[in-house]
């Protein structure tokens, strides 16, 4: 139990998926302009990563390994993720049209969010058991949500700040991200 807990802490704070591994940079810059859409995106990513990881985990150990075609991993995984994202999109469209609108183009783009494929692959390469896999595929996107939320709060303040023309928008946001990465590097050695 303690091991699982420290694994979760490490995934959320120390090896944060955005700030140390740079996965999911597109939504990180794209949907972080408003706090509400950042939270919506984060929750959607948790849902997609959990779902996609569980399906790919069973597919890999159940089908690919038994048939001895592990090299099909990449193609299988990406197809599972793409269809799962499609499913999530229909789900959100039906239950929360407002959130659907604010996520806009970035919802179908979760397919090309490297975080999803990375977690699915990581679960296989690290040889996780089922429970470890569940903890990993929940805590990694939780770190994503945390950083996305903090970042969107900073960006809402940055919008009103007086920045030079060339730095307006993304460049100054990236400087903020750099400072955040520096702050998060302080967590190293926590576990």
């Amino acid at each position: 139990m303690a091991e699982l807990f420290s694994m979760a802490i490490a995934a959320v704070l120390i090896n944060n998926i955005i700030l140390t591994k740079f996965f999911g940079m597109c939504p990180f810059l794209g949907v972080s302009k408003k706090t509400s859409s950042a939270v919506g995106m984060g929750v959607a990513v948790i849902f997609v990563i959990m779902g996609a990881s569980i399906i790919t985990y069973f597919l890999y150990h159940g089908v690919l390994v038994t048939l001895g075609i592990e090299y099909m991993q990449l193609i299988t995984f990406i197809l599972v993720i793409a269809s799962f994202v499609q499913f999530t999109e229909m789900f959100i469209k039906k239950f929360s049209p407002a959130l659907y609108k604010s996520l806009g183009i970035y919802l179908p783009l979760i397919t090309t969010n490297c975080a999803v494929l990375y977690v699915a692959k990581d679960n296989i390469t690290q040889n996780y058991g089922f429970v470890e896999m569940l903890v990993n595929s929940f805590s990694v996107p939780l770190g994503f949500l945390l950083v996305l939320y903090i970042f969107s709060c900073m960006r809402e303040r940055l919008d009103t700040a007086d920045t030079p023309n060339a730095w307006k928008g993304n460049p100054v946001a990236l400087v903020a991200a750099a400072l955040m990465a520096l702050a998060f590097s302080g967590f190293a050695g926590l576990v």
């Binding site: 990449l74 193609i75 197809l79 400087v175």
Partner: protein
């Protein structure tokens, strides 16, 4: 836009990394050394060119509703092939790039070009677009890693990926005590990238201002 303009657009005006903010994950993560940047850049260029050509060749027989899954399968197959070839012939580079090679599948540049360009244009044009965009991406990686490698180690090194021999090593030893190892971490990546993004924003807006003046 003629072919030449189209080819050059990928470097500054439509630079995929600094201008369009595509493919950032790999651009930030593997731009620590020139070696990685060259390896990754050429890999992406190769896959992008091949996928653009294949997708352009099958554009007339691809049903519109399922085009995205078709593109993804084409790209994923190409990436798997390149991954296996790299593991066999360039083990050191393969180990350095690690999971980022398989993550080329979800590099927005490749799917973006397939959707925006290759699905509407001929094979030759698509191939040229792939090479141009790929080199634009390589160019951006080189810029970032050029700065980062120097600030972090006070030297530049290029090795041959096939046999790990050092081809070029430029070191400024008197700067050795002043190197900033922070630039090999993520903070340095974000900072370097932010500076380049601001620079490219200036470059991009310049011609637009000129046109406005002429119009007046």
């Amino acid at each position: 836009m003629n072919r030449k303009e189209n080819f050059i657009a990928g470097f500054v005006k439509e630079n995929p990394v600094f201008g369009l903010y595509l493919g950032l994950c790999s651009a930030l993560a593997i731009s620590t050394t020139l070696d990685n940047a060259i390896g990754m850049g050429l890999c992406v260029t190769l896959i992008l060119t091949a996928s653009n050509m294949i997708i352009s060749a099958i554009r007339k027989i691809t049903p519109d509703e399922i085009r995205i899954p078709v593109y993804i399968v084409v790209i994923a197959s190409l990436v798997s092939a390149v991954e296996m070839l790299m593991a066999a012939f360039m083990p050191q580079l393969y180990a350095n790039l690690g999971v980022f090679i398989s993550l080329i599948v979800v590099n927005c540049i490749i799917l973006g070009r397939a959707e925006a360009f290759a699905s509407k244009n001929g094979i030759l044009d698509s191939a040229l677009d792939g090479i141009g965009m790929g080199l634009g991406y390589t160019f951006s990686l080189l810029l970032i890693s050029f700065v980062r490698e120097f600030l972090a180690t006070a030297s530049w090194t290029i090795t041959n990926p096939f046999n790990n021999q050092v081809i070029l090593h430029v070191g400024l030893s008197f700067l050795e005590p002043f190197k900033i190892s922070m630039f090999s971490t993520s903070t340095g990546a974000f900072l370097t990238f932010a500076c380049f993004a601001a620079l490219f924003a200036v470059l991009k807006n310049k011609p637009a201002k000129k046109e406005k003046k002429e119009a007046k």
